[in-house]
Symmetry: C2
């Protein structure tokens, strides 16, 4: 199966703690890396992850709070120092370019690559990226600043050739791609083997959704239905539900409720408030509603 | 003796490594904290140092390379989240305000304190800060961007009262400050005790100098003469002297040569290039010229 992994670089909220970096994750999908959010220290954490910097060409920003973007100038500077020449693409709300470009102009002038900013419509969302392996869609979240989540949907893979059938029928190499694409095979003596006898079906395409920061939005269940992994912020415990409402964040219980409504496979919670010394409180609260819940932590890598 | 300590929050150079954060230090002088440089992650490291954020009101920036300033927006944001109300003062080259103010306007609007930028003349330097305990002076360094070092000079302290003399002569409490300030005392029966008999001299005032980033500037020896602790960048080893010259950095040998010329008490080297897995190479090189050399490392605290 092709690689589809989620790395947590930071899963704290705005106030730094000894335990957490601010928000940043990397999705490693086949040969590419995609970053979601880029809080202060993301480049240090990326270094620690030992992921290859050069595989990262696309960064998706959810919203313009500092704990989700302050790592961007440092990341770009470091890429320049490492001699990067490939262009970088940064996706985010409309103001992102306005606020970041002057910093880059000042500190990263003359670097050997271009940073392209792509504006994401935070009111309706929609497809923001596509290649032959994946589609990335934005969808609106509800927070104090315009904010989107991102949904990574793997494209359907081609079926697997049955090696023994190919050998047995002596099917030539040049015919393999046709068969993978849906074709059958007729032998020299006229016997037709339909597609289904020559292949085993591909694994079903996988999907990952990232929801941070947001208040509880039950309507998201449709967008998130059946994803293999849902990251949802759980800044607060239900005992602090009033504070969650006030700051437009979610509780662990709300994150789990959404996971259950959307019938996702697994839930990963993060963006923890600094007030919880012991985050198992958040985990237990979520697991009481949705059993397959995991706590995010720096350095965690989940394979989908 | 009053507190005068130097905390190393980060001592790497621009390229991040697993071992080092970019440049930042805190000087803890009596009741106040002063930060010099504020690389990405400085607020995280400050948190780890367990120094009280509220004691920090003054930040001195040496020059406008990202690895010395990218931590500033995050630090200000965090101070705001912590409910700070006291104004902050940031000192640095002329462009600092121009490049940082728009970031602060966007991400830190409505915070309950003001960040005041103070322009430091990078061509002549001079006094940039003074209170009853300390004078901070900037002095020009030579780097690819306009750059200054900072010299922290403790003001002479008042002498110590000889407790036993005070008790013996029954000198009243209200007279103590006069005596500390240089006065003597006449007893009820007319015997005069001169100042010198009532006090022991204060410790000599201490000084700390921070030189980063800079090429080797032998003329600095006069400015730095006799300081108790000199931090001097030693980005490279002498084997990479050509690279040091090209990038306007110093070698460990050059840092030590300046320390020797200036007859400082101790030398602390840092701003290490990522290329040295083992920095003892830099330490040995410096110690061969100036024995009292120390390697900076994150978390190091030196008392002067």
């Amino acid at each position: 199966m092709e690689k589809f992994e989620v790395y947590v670089l930071g899963c704290g909220s705005a106030l730094p703690t000894m335990r957490h970096y601010p928000s940043s994750q990397v999705i490693s999908l086949r040969e590419k890396l995609f970053m979601v959010d880029c809080g202060e220290g993301a480049q240090l954490q990326l270094r620690r992850s030992r992921l290859r910097f050069s595989r990262l060409n696309h960064i998706f920003i959810t919203h313009l709070h500092g704990d989700h973007v302050f790592g961007l100038p440092g990341l770009v500077s470091t890429f320049a120092l490492l001699g990067r020449t490939a262009d970088m693409h940064v996706y985010g709300p409309a103001d992102l370019e306005k606020v970041m470009q002057p910093m880059l102009n000042y500190f990263c002038s003359g670097i050997p690559f271009t940073v392209h900013f792509h504006t994401v419509d935070t009111t309706v969302g929609g497809k923001v990226y596509e290649d032959r392996s994946v589609i990335v869609e934005a969808f609106p979240l509800q927070h104090r600043k315009p904010c989107v989540g991102y949904l990574f949907r793997e494209k359907p893979a081609l079926p697997h050739i049955k090696r023994d059938m190919i050998d047995f029928l002596e099917i030539p190499h040049f015919a393999i791609n046709d068969i993978k694409a849906g074709g059958g095979w007729t032998t020299a003596d006229g016997v037709f083997y339909p597609h289904e006898r020559l292949v085993t079906p591909a694994e079903p395409p996988r999907s990952y959704a990232y929801c941070s920061d947001t208040r509880f939005v039950p309507e998201l269940a449709e967008t998130l239905r059946g994803v293999d992994l849902l990251f949802h912020e759980a800044t607060f415990a239900e005992t602090d539900a009033a504070r969650a409402a006030e700051t437009m964040h979610s509780t662990a219980q709300q994150a789990a409720t959404l996971a259950k409504m959307a019938e996702v496979r697994r839930l990963l919670i993060g963006h923890f408030s600094a007030r919880y010394e012991d985050e198992s409180v958040l985990l237990k609260e979520a697991q009481s509603i949705f059993a397959d819940t995991l706590l995010a932590r720096e350095g965690l890598c989940l394979a989908l």
